[in-house]
């Protein structure tokens, strides 16, 4: 158990509304990641963080922002949700080279 929780686990929202997903870790790892997973695609990196207030973009960052004010929390925000952002979102942490994943958040944008 990598000690990673995500909230909420499920969310339905409407187009144009802001949405924030939370990732919380209990093991003080420096690196944290947000991915999205869609049918037919591999996991795609949205943003990652290499320390408090240190973040960088991944391959699909448009429409998403992140914040990390504490080591244990990494927030993903959709400023104005669109239907193309309907997906399953996973948070991960690095321990050495390996990454360990949270249980995911299923987001539906109507």
């Amino acid at each position: 158990d990598a000690g990673i929780t995500q909230s909420p686990r499920h969310k339905v929202t409407e187009t144009g509304t802001p949405v924030t997903l939370r990732c919380h870790q209990t093991e003080n790892h420096r690196y944290m990641y947000w991915y999205r997973q869609d049918p037919g695609h591999g996991l795609r990196l949205i943003h990652y963080s290499y320390g408090v207030k240190d973040t960088d973009k991944g391959e699909v960052s448009d429409g998403y922002s992140v914040s990390r004010s504490k080591t244990e929390d990494f927030l993903l925000t959709l400023e104005s949700a669109t239907s193309s952002q309907t997906s399953v979102y996973f948070c991960a942490i690095s321990s050495g080279f390996e990454q360990f994943f949270g249980p995911g958040t299923r987001l539906t944008v109507l």
């Binding site: 690095s94 080279f97 390996e98 990454q99 995911g104």
Partner: protein, 111 residues
Amino acid sequence: EDQVTQSPEALRLQEGESSSLNCSYTVSGLRGLFWYRQDPGKGPEFLFTLYSAGEEKEKERLKATLTKKESFLHITAPKPEDSATYLCAVHRGDSNYQLIWGAGTKLIIKP
């Protein structure tokens, strides 16, 4: 361009019927190849890391091997509980921490 391709997309086997899943990759300077298992509705679960050609890792009925161009996940005498999607990933050549993921192989083991 760094890329990971997994095949087949889906594989149906009878219980006890051994087989292999393939992960082919192109990356400038492999720093690590990773295998994960993902059950429906859950996050990926780490299985193995392989670092260099010729390396092998085993866990129960699973054995992962690595060459300079691909990795195989061999499943020996599988059971229905081995049914899952198996994911492969490699480190990007220019990054120690960003991974490139394959789309996965969905494995179904019928009793």
